[in-house]
Structure formats: structure tokens, C-alpha cells
């Protein structure tokens, strides 16, 4: 399986602050990959490193040769018209697909003579996406493309992206801090917290192997070895676990329920502080 992006021990430092540190990740080709994590997890830094916008401070990163990048807040030139943006793309790229760009603009009902400053947020995002698509990349990276859009524009944008990916064979890497955005679009998910990949895999497989267990209170040390504990919550009498396992759960003490993608991601985001707390306690002993 070829990968569209593979990083090893990747780190980027701004002055004294590490925006990303010791990040190792491998993303297989042929997917629409959702990169999700809390603000400040290093998503933007990772994506900027992937498209060559940044140079790593340490470690290595390899990507496909032809990477398209749609930056956060989908910047376009306010003073240039829609048509001039297409000219820009055509002049600055060798494999520019002019027909695709023109068709998309027509489909979106954008006036080619319109200055970009007069476009709505959703239209601007669509224009930026068109530029990214017509470049005919092998990997298209989008950094929080819908974060600043209203719900309707958000849905239209993601729909447009899905249509485009269905038609062509290129990979997409899309970041968001909202799982709901990714749920409809992505078939592969990477959860990044504090520069670390918490979990990565195909969405269907992730959903099939993660379970929520609810039952009488039980200590974590008494959980079976083939169940990887993602998160745990205890009250005086009850325990709630999110576990990953490929084996069926047979213990009758547990009420087993499936997780939504959002629950799953939140469980991984919760996990880190829990681990840290434990590490802190151990250090005290």
C-alpha cells in the first residue's frame, strides 16, 4: 500500500515553542482522510509541513509529488476577479485543468467578473477549492476549510468536495476540530492530540472495533489484556469504559453499546489527561 503522507519523528519549533513534536504518521493512498484534534494539537502545522509551506525543525516528512493546498480561511486575492483567479492558476501551474475550473465556476453560479472581495464566505471557499482541484493534485490538503462558514455553506462545500473526489482518483487530507464535518466526508480518520497520533484507521473499522462498556465499578487493572482502554470513567458504583478490541465482548456484566464517530474521537481526546494524571500519581509514590 502506498502512502500519501508519511512522517517520522516530525517536529516544528517557533522560537522556543514546539507547535508539533515527535509526530510519526502514515496515511495510505486512496482515502478521504479526516484529521481531527483539539485546537493547538498541531494540525495546521502538520498540514503546512506536508505541503512544503514549512520546513521541519526535526524529523522527516514525505508526500506525493503534486500537493494541492487550501489554507485555513480559504484566502483569495480580494482585488482579483473570479476569472483572474483562474488565470492565476493557469499561469502558475503546469498541469492546470482549465475546463474543470470553468465548469465548476459555472456550476457554482459564480460571476467570473466578480471581485473576490464581494464574494460570500462560502463562495470564497468554493473558489479556493476550485483552484486546488484544477491543479489536479495527487493529494489535496484542506486546512479547516469550513470552520468559518455557516451551516448551509458548510454542507455545500463538503458536498462539492465529495463530488470532486468521487470523480477523480486523488487523495484528500482534510482537517477540522468538528467531527460532524468529517463524518459525512471521510472514510479514514486520524486523531491528533498534543502532536501525537492517538488513533488512525478506516472509519468503518474504527466504529466496528470500539465499544462503550457500562457496568458495576471495576478497576482498570482488571480489564482483559485484549481490550485496549481508550477512556474510563468511574462513579462510586459504576464504571464506563471505551475500549478497542477486535474480539467480541462476552462478559455479561457489561452493557455494550456502539459509539458514534464523535464519541470515539472525544474518548481519545479525553484519554491524554487521564494518562497524565496516572503518570503523575505514579511519580508521587
Amino acid at each position: 500500500m502506498t502512502s500519501v503522507l508519511s512522517a517520522h519523528g516530525l517536529g516544528k519549533r517557533y522560537g522556543r515553542r514546539w507547535a508539533l513534536r515527535d509526530c510519526t504518521i502514515d496515511i495510505p493512498a486512496g482515502h478521504v482522510v479526516g484529521l481531527v484534534g483539539p485546537n493547538g494539537a498541531g494540525k495546521t502545522t502538520l498540514l503546512k509541513l506536508a505541503c512544503g509551506q514549512l520546513v521541519p525543525t526535526e524529523g522527516t516528512i514525505e508526500t506525493m509529488a503534486k500537493v494541492g493546498f487550501v489554507a485555513q480561511d480559504t484566502p483569495v486575492y480580494a482585488g482579483l476577479t473570479v476569472a483572474e483567479h483562474l488565470t492565476l492558476g493557469a499561469r502558475l501551474n503546469s498541469g492546470w485543468d482549465a475546463a474543470l475550473a470553468r465548469e465548476r465556476i459555472a456550476q457554482l453560479d459564480l460571476d467570473p467578473g466578480q471581485k473576490a472581495r464581494k464574494l460570500s464566505g462560502g463562495q470564497r471557499a468554493q473558489l479556493a477549492l476550485t483552484l486546488g482541484l484544477a491543479k489536479r493534485p495527487e493529494l489535496l490538503i484542506l486546512d479547516e476549510p469550513v470552520a468559518s462558514l455557516d451551516p448551509l455553506a458548510r454542507r455545500e462545500f463538503l458536498q462539492g468536495l465529495m463530488e470532486a473526489t468521487a470523480a477523480a482518483e486523488f487523495s484528500v487530507l482534510l482537517s477540522s476540530h468538528l467531527v460532524a464535518d468529517l463524518e459525512r466526508t471521510c472514510d479514514y480518520l486520524v486523531v491528533l492530540v498534543d502532536s501525537r497520533v492517538q488513533v488512525a484507521g478506516e472509519v468503518e473499522e474504527l466504529l466496528a472495533t470500539h465499544h462503550r462498556l457500562t457496568g458495576p465499578r471495576r478497576d482498570e487493572s482488571r480489564m482483559p489484556g485484549d481490550q485496549y482502554v481508550v477512556s474510563a470513567r468511574h462513579t462510586d458504583r459504576q464504571s464506563t469504559y471505551v475500549v478497542r478490541t477486535s474480539a467480541p465482548i462476552l462478559d455479561p456484566a457489561w452493557a455494550v453499546s456502539r459509539l458514534t464517530l464523535e464519541d470515539l474521537v472525544l474518548a481519545y481526546m479525553e484519554k491524554r489527561p487521564a494518562e497524565r494524571r496516572r503518570a503523575g500519581l505514579e511519580a508521587l509514590r
Binding site: P75, L88, K135
Partner: protein, 346 residues
């Protein structure tokens, strides 16, 4: 890339071109008339030997325009640095469009190459045309200017010939580099202005006097180098003050003009006046006598002017050297901006 550069630069290029075209038209229309008036005046004054008086009257008439033109030509490179150089990068960074344009099929090194080359050459061309036009137009005035505004003097020299091209190129890349460093347009403009003004002041104050060894020579006193003679009422001591001018060296840049007493000792330097032993009660310096004879009388007593200066015939040598210095600064900053955009800027 050339298309994009031109598209983004178009509006300000057209505005500047329009402003310069108006200036050029005004100079071209008035230049020949100015030259004719000067030629006619010279032809007339040589007959009755009143040329110094003609120079003064002629220059007086145009001094205002002359000064405004000089200042405009000194300001042009600064404006280029502020409005073409500084925003080149910061405008992209502030709008986030660097993330758009640097992720197209051209590298950011190529992006910067085209931007610097196209806009930089336009800046140099604008400075070249304006500089040459002003030099041509001012020729009659440069020949008749007061010593303080001699052609080699700092304020005039910097607005003549080819140095404006060097200033423009330097100011432009200075603005670009400042923009890369501080990343915000207003701050970059402020930094550009501060550094450019500092360099433009340091150049004539510190560097230019030493580009060549100045000439030091001793001259007799005459109407050309004596600024003022004062005689105490009722005939007392005669005080002499020298001008920053050297006899027979019109247009020279006088660095020092000192009064020597008969023993060769400096008794007054720039602008000071000093008493002499010349009689103020009788002879040519006495009140009532024709004032024209007095400088000669003081000179006859052994008083001299010791002047240190750069003569006008060094004008082009100085122009080339100074343009070379600014070209070197420009190349250094250009190298820096390429290094920075590859290594540090994101």
C-alpha cells in the same frame, strides 16, 4: 508569474507613471525657456562684466522650484521603498494569500525573483528618467547656484545624475526585507523609512567626503570667498567672515573654509568671523570707501583662505562610486531576502 506580478502592481504603477508624466511634461515644457533665458543673460552680462549679479538674480527667481524639485527627487526612492517595497510581502502575509500563491506550481524563490526583478526594474527606470530630466532641466540653475546649493553639495548631488537609481533600488529591497522581518505593513513602512533616512543622512555626512581625498588649497581673499566684512562704527577693527566657496571652483563641495592670519595660523573656521589688523579708519576698508577694494586690501596684508573641498570635476566619479555602493547594498539585501524567504519565512 509575470502576469500575476503585473496584475497586482498595475494600479500603483499606473498612478506613479501618471504623476511622473505630469512632472516630466512640466520639465520638458519649461526647460528650453529656462535655458534660453540663461543663455541670453550670460551673453548680456559678459559684455559689462556683471555676471555674478546676473547669477544671483537668475537663481533667486527659480530657487523655490529648484528646491522643490530636489526634494521631490530625494523623496521618490523613499516613496518607492514605502509603497512598493514594504507591502510586497506583508500584504500577502496579512491577507493569508501567501498560502495560496506559494502553493501553486511556482516556487516561492521564483515568485520573489519575478516580483523583485519586475518592480525593482520599474523603480530604477522611474528614478532614471526623473533623475536625468531634473539634471537636464536644472543645468542653468546649477551653473548659477549659490555656494550652499552647489552641484556637489549634499542636497543637490543626491538629486542629480545616476545616484537616484541606486537609491531607488536600495529603498525597494530595503522595504521588501523589512516586510519579511516584521511581517506587518505599517511596521515595515516605519522601519523602511527610519533605516532609509538614516542611510541617506549618514552617506553625505560620514561616507561621501572620504570617497576621494579632498583638495586643500590656500586662496587669496576676494569677493568670491569673503562672506562679510564688518567695521566698527567710527572706524575700529575690521572683522572678516568667509563663505563656503572657493574662488574659481564654482559648484564645488566645500568641506571647510578657514581664515589664516599672515603667519598662517587658523583664526576663524566655518562661518565664524575674526578681527584683523587691517585699518578701519583709513584705506580701502574705511567707511565711505568703495567696499570692492577691501577684500583685496585684507589679502594684501597676508590673510588667506584655506579651503578643503571636492571640485566639480569629480562629479561623475562620485556619482559612479556612490551608485556602486548602493548597488552593493542592494545586492546584499536581495541575497538576504532570498535566504530569508527560503529558510525562515512561512
Amino acid at each position: 508569474m509575470i502576469w500575476l506580478t503585473w496584475r497586482q502592481f498595475r494600479a500603483s504603477a499606473v498612478t506613479t507613471a501618471a504623476a511622473l508624466a505630469v512632472l516630466a511634461a512640466a520639465l520638458v515644457l519649461t526647460g528650453p525657456g529656462l535655458a534660453d533665458r540663461y543663455a541670453a543673460g550670460i551673453a548680456e552680462c559678459t559684455l559689462d562684466d556683471t555676471c555674478p549679479r546676473f547669477y544671483d538674480l537668475f537663481f533667486d527667481d527659480y530657487q523655490m522650484t529648484f528646491t522643490v524639485l530636489n526634494l521631490a527627487l530625494l523623496a521618490l526612492p523613499a516613496l518607492i521603498g514605502l509603497f512598493w517595497g514594504a507591502p510586497l510581502i506583508t500584504r500577502e502575509l496579512e491577507a493569508g494569500t501567501h498560502l495560496l500563491v506559494w502553493n501553486q506550481g511556482v516556487t516561492r524563490v521564483r515568485w520573489l525573483t519575478v516580483k523583485l526583478a519586475l518592480i525593482g526594474l520599474t523603480a530604477v527606470a522611474a528614478a532614471c528618467v526623473t533623475g536625468m530630466l531634473v539634471t537636464w532641466w536644472s543645468r542653468p540653475l546649477d551653473s548659477s547656484a549659490v555656494p550652499e546649493l552647489a552641484q556637489m553639495s549634499p542636497l543637490v548631488f543626491s538629486a542629480r545624475g545616476i545616484v537616484p537609481m541606486g537609491y531607488a533600488a536600495f529603498a525597494f529591497v530595503l522595504g521588501v526585507s523589512a516586510g519579511m522581518l516584521v511581517r506587518r505593513t505599517l511596521a515595515a513602512m516605519a522601519l523602511t523609512l527610519a533605516v532609509f533616512v538614516a542611510v541617506q543622512i549618514a552617506m553625505p555626512m560620514v561616507v561621501r567626503p572620504h570617497l576621494m581625498t579632498p583638495v586643500t588649497a590656500v586662496h587669496e581673499l576676494s569677493r568670491e570667498n569673503v562672506g562679510g566684512i564688518s567695521v566698527r562704527r567710527g572706524g575700529g577693527e575690521v572683522r572678516v567672515q568667509l563663505k563656503n566657496a572657493v574662488p574659481g571652483q564654482a559648484g564645488a563641495w566645500v568641506l571647510a573654509s578657514e581664515l589664516l592670519d599672515p603667519s598662517g595660523k587658523v583664526i576663524a573656521s566655518d562661518g565664524e568671523d575674526s578681527p584683523t589688523t587691517v585699518s578701519g579708519t583709513s584705506g580701502p576698508c574705511a567707511p565711505g570707501a568703495s567696499p570692492d577694494g577691501c577684500p583685496g586690501e585684507i589679502s594684501a596684508q597676508g590673510y588667506r583662505q584655506q579651503a578643503t573641498y571636492h571640485p566639480l570635476d569629480r562629479f561623475w566619479a562620485f556619482q559612479w562610486i556612490e551608485t556602486g555602493i548602493y548597488a552593493a547594498l542592494t545586492i546584499g539585501l536581495t541575497w538576504f531576502s532570498f535566504w530569508w524567504i527560503r529558510r525562515r519565512l512561512s
